[in-house]
């Protein structure tokens, strides 16, 4: 799997690169700013880009902007956005560029290497991975709107774990129930959210998108 890493801090860039190489990723380029990232994406076939939010020149949210631009140029381009802090606002902006192949995680999550590597693979495969912090914030809000209001608390919990990018087996393990029970919950979620019969991965992404939109602010 071909990966490009965009991170301005050399220490973290090298660490990420070492970690990914150790897990059989092909790190094709390591860059330190959004311009170099765009150049790499324009010239080389890349399966997933791992992008830090804060990069030169202004050290604010260049990485986020670069990720959204990359996806505008190549729709569905898988991008994993990493940051020292997470904002629901940014998660939402990323999802607006299309909900497939998007990851948004705290850098802390890299410490759990296996989960992180799985998340990168999932994103490269078109899945959605949101940081548990974003998901927790979404879950803490009382359900206000249809159709998410129709979900039971348990189903909301399952949906939250789906948004974190966990597999059915992982969700079952986390909630101490059988895979079969999880399958049932997920089928109910799809039904209650009126998701069309389709490829399962795609429906998962759509469900997560509904989840994010639930707490979207009303347009002024």
């Amino acid at each position: 799997m071909r990966v490009v890493i965009a991170e301005d801090l050399a220490l973290l860039r090298d660490g990420l690169s070492r970690l990914l190489r150790a897990h059989d990723f092909d790190v094709v380029a390591e860059v330190a700013d959004p311009v170099a990232l765009a150049a790499v994406l324009a010239t080389q076939p890349v399966d997933v880009a791992i992008v830090d939010v804060r990069m030169p020149p202004t050290f604010t949210n260049e990485g986020l902007v670069a990720a959204i631009e990359a996806r505008a140029r190549r729709p569905g381009m898988p991008v994993m956005v990493l940051s020292q802090y997470v904002e629901q606002l940014y998660a939402r902006e990323l999802m607006l560029s299309g909900s497939e192949g998007i990851g948004y995680l705290l850098k802390d999550r890299v410490a759990d290497v296996q989960t992180f590597v799985d998340a990168v693979r999932r994103v490269a495969g078109g899945g959605t991975v949101l940081d548990p912090k974003v998901v927790a914030a979404l879950l803490s809000r009382p359900e206000r709107r249809e159709p998410l209001g129709r979900l039971t608390p348990r189903e909301r919990e399952v949906l939250g774990l789906m948004a974190e990018g966990r597999s059915n087996a992982a969700i079952a393990g986390k909630l101490f129930v059988t895979d079969k029970a999880i399958d049932k919950h997920i089928a109910n979620i799809f039904m209650k959210l009126d998701l069309p019969m389709d490829h399962d991965d795609n429906r998962r992404v759509l469900a997560v998108l509904r989840f994010l939109q639930d707490s979207a602010p009303t347009a002024p």
Binding site: N61, L89, P217
Partner: protein
Amino acid sequence: MSAHTRTARGWPWYARWHTVLRFEAFLSAAIGLAVGLGWAAGGGYFWPGWVWLALAIPLGLQAAVRWGLRAPKGQRFLAVHTSVSFALGVMLLFIWLLGGARYFWPVWPIASLAIVLGVHRWFVRNRPNAREQALADRVGVLTRTRRGALDVQAAELQRIERDLHDGAQARLVSVAMSLGLAESLLETKPDLVAGLLTEARSTAVAALDDLRTVMQGIQPPVLADRGLEGAIRALALDIAVQVTVTGGLPGRAPLPVESAAYFTAAECLANVMKHSNATSAWVDLRYEAGLLSVVVGDNGVGGARADGGTGLRGVARRLESFDGAMTVSSPAGGPTTVTMEVPCELSSPKT
């Protein structure tokens, strides 16, 4: 300052008056001389003294006014008063002399003039003028708000130091200890190492969490990224009640103002969560006529007071350092509206 200073619009009015006065003085002297010669020819009672006095009165008064007007701006009124009083006193003395210098009656009018002049002088000295009063008030406000700002700053630094010491620093010490122990056990008891490493990792992640919380309290990253409007929108998303953000700003406020406005809005929204029982809240942002205004409202139970808890009082103090103000409207039963206004200039938005 010379009375003859030429201004852009020509001679000042009292300079033209000067020319008239000279002509008047010349004419008076001519008349006086003629009258004197007339008396010298005829002799008898020295009546020209009265004519001279009559000619001298207008000249003397005008000269006194002119002399008074030469005083610097702001003291002219008193100077004119002084010179005219003096001229009147001298005239009264001359009248007394011409009248035969018997009973010294001018003492009464002269004393009256002196008393009025004395009162005037005392008044001018002891009552500072409007400008000085305004400056004195301003100094008072600045002294108070500077002390307030420094207090707030010192308290913040102390809080940050304590948070870092008890949080991230302590956790990193623990990480170092776990790693050191793991290193020493690698040879002898390798089965214990895996557990120590896991512990070190989870403690390091907890330290990161602590650091993030501390940084959020110093300067929320989203505020630097997106400015006040974006940061408030991000904040609204993280709050468990529905918060609607309306309005917007045409540019970015200076950083310290942005920060103060953000934390005041955050404090107000925290109060909404803690005390109001509200089901929805709203934030309105505006910039009009040099005034940044942030209004936070909710549909809760009301009863918030600006002088109540430390929260809102801290907010008010924080705003004061920027000449800002906060008003709270929160009748029992609600709704609550907190309005914050800070005068500032916006920079043009980033392109």
